[in-house]
Symmetry: D3
Subunit: 131 residues, 6 copies
């Protein structure tokens, strides 16, 4: 294990989740019995190498991430990253607007399905879209 990159990744992950969630993600990975290195790669490479780069701030990286996930329709990760986006500073309205901006580029279905996930996450976090 690459201790420095891993720690850098954990620190960055905490900015998108919380101290507790980040510890859970790292120590209680549901896939650790079959793919024990997967979580490490996510932490070291995605969070340690990529998310920590200068040039875009946390909110902008969350917006980019949510956008690609909605485009692909990968629903579990949309839910995860709407949560991380909110934690890292995106407002509910910015998340919704980012999805509506996709309509001319991916059509209505992907956007509609993603907004249902946003609705669920906002209810769980007791948040509202300020319009």
């Amino acid at each position: 294990m690459d201790q420095e990159r891993f720690q850098k990744g954990v620190n960055k992950l905490k900015e998108y989740t919380s101290e507790e969630q980040a510890q859970n993600l790292v120590h209680s990975d549901v896939l650790k019995d079959i793919a024990p290195d997967l979580r490490r790669f996510i932490v070291e490479f995605a969070y340690g190498d990529i998310y920590t780069r200068p040039g875009l701030n946390n909110k902008e990286r969350a917006l980019v991430t949510i956008t690609t996930l909605v485009t692909q329709g990968v629903e579990p990760q949309i839910e995860t990253h709407v949560n991380r986006g909110l934690t890292s500073g995106l407002t509910p309205n910015e998340i919704v607007e980012g999805m509506l901006q996709l309509i001319p580029y991916v059509g209505f279905p992907r956007v509609q399905n993603a907004l249902k996930i946003v609705k669920k996450v906002l209810e769980q976090r007791d948040l509202k879209v300020e319009i």
Copy 2:
């Protein structure tokens, strides 16, 4: 034609292109002989209805747009919207960083192919990435 939405769309399009380019896009559409309403739909709906919404600024909308296009690998539109992103205020570095942020979510190939287009556009505009 819906004159108000159309004009609103043209005005917004100018913020992403230039007075001259926007006029060209509207008046010299290469597809006007076979689909004369397509350009109008793009101007009225995409630029008039969606891009003009509050909640995200021009730069953020350009970042979202480039992200979905790279995810889909639609190369002619990547070129168009890298140009529009630069005009609307994204720096070369922000565009490149937005693409690198996609590596953990779409893998290297789509990002590599998109960065070749960025390279070409930056050369055409005589711009450099400040690192």
Copy 3:
């Protein structure tokens, strides 16, 4: 709101659903708290601007719509538009054949998953494929 386009869209939507369902879709949108304009865009742009165009009839537009949704694998919308296709005049057999026609172009999995949705919808509507 663009009253004329909206009304034109509602009228077209009724041809794919029913008086009652169209009213429900317009007035009880599940996403109205977070994205109050989404339903309006679907009605005005998709149904008002696009579905009302001459050149293809309702059945043909439903066939095109179902085809793109199966290709993308967006399941909630496959269910919605199999229902709308049946209401607008497609026979169960035409819907099934349209999906089988996709096998050489998308392979078996997408088609198989879509046909399971067709089966469910036909059972709900007490319809059979006449072979």
Copy 4:
């Protein structure tokens, strides 16, 4: 080789191309040195087994085929099947309308790129969209 299915496929293929083109496709396959069975599978399975089924006519099958290809953005096949669609009875206007119908489901870029191919094919065949 399954002579009956193959001949059935060749006969169907002729309805989408011409006697001469069908012979060329079958006898001068560019991939025959590396994958000599590929053309046979296309003729036997796609054209022999699928295209010959009752329930949808040639024009409708062409419309379905073009729709899935535009959704996927596979450009060489869009060109091939716009040609086959025209030969099998789709009008230029029906092909264009089928693509515009996709805007709400795939967004503008895929549709725009496909319409450029339609434009090229119509010019090659000296055809116009009657509007």
Copy 5:
């Protein structure tokens, strides 16, 4: 029905499932009321024509199949073909490694979602990844 291709397909299918499962798949198809030819096409064309070809062995064909399904994110078929891959001789570790190999080409989300399915299948079959 093409008795020879069908029987060849059933025989090959048994190598990926079991005598009993293969009979079930052929005789109790859930889609037989709406698309009675679909199962036949899968058996005759996919298993009879393609899987029986020389050049790659069963394990290699299973690895290729799982890879394309993970790339597309078609989850019901990922489950089916992880099972068939295990029956045809792929080890749990080979399946997991094949998926981790995809990270640089499709990103983490598709791989993570597929590995959750592998985990479920391994538990059902009481198998472990030997690391």
Copy 6:
């Protein structure tokens, strides 16, 4: 830079290319002016972390890689990895068979377009498919 992972990646890359090509890839990256870290990430993460894992050999990893690229239709990388597959020990026939195996899962167009690239690469390397 992580010297150990980088060197491990370069060594692995040489098994898929050649001493000379690997040096060129590392030292003359066409994207180095705009994204100087991209090549490093490919070498360190893709080749250093992933390709070097036990559980699948070089040929199997190349087969998995080619399969996902054909499924996605990313043509520049299909060409690159058909070449790397051949260098790492896949035979022309195995590459072709791997692509034909995809027909039931992605349909004919993606496979046909990929096989044209295989044909070109085999001609450049003066190789033939032994059937």
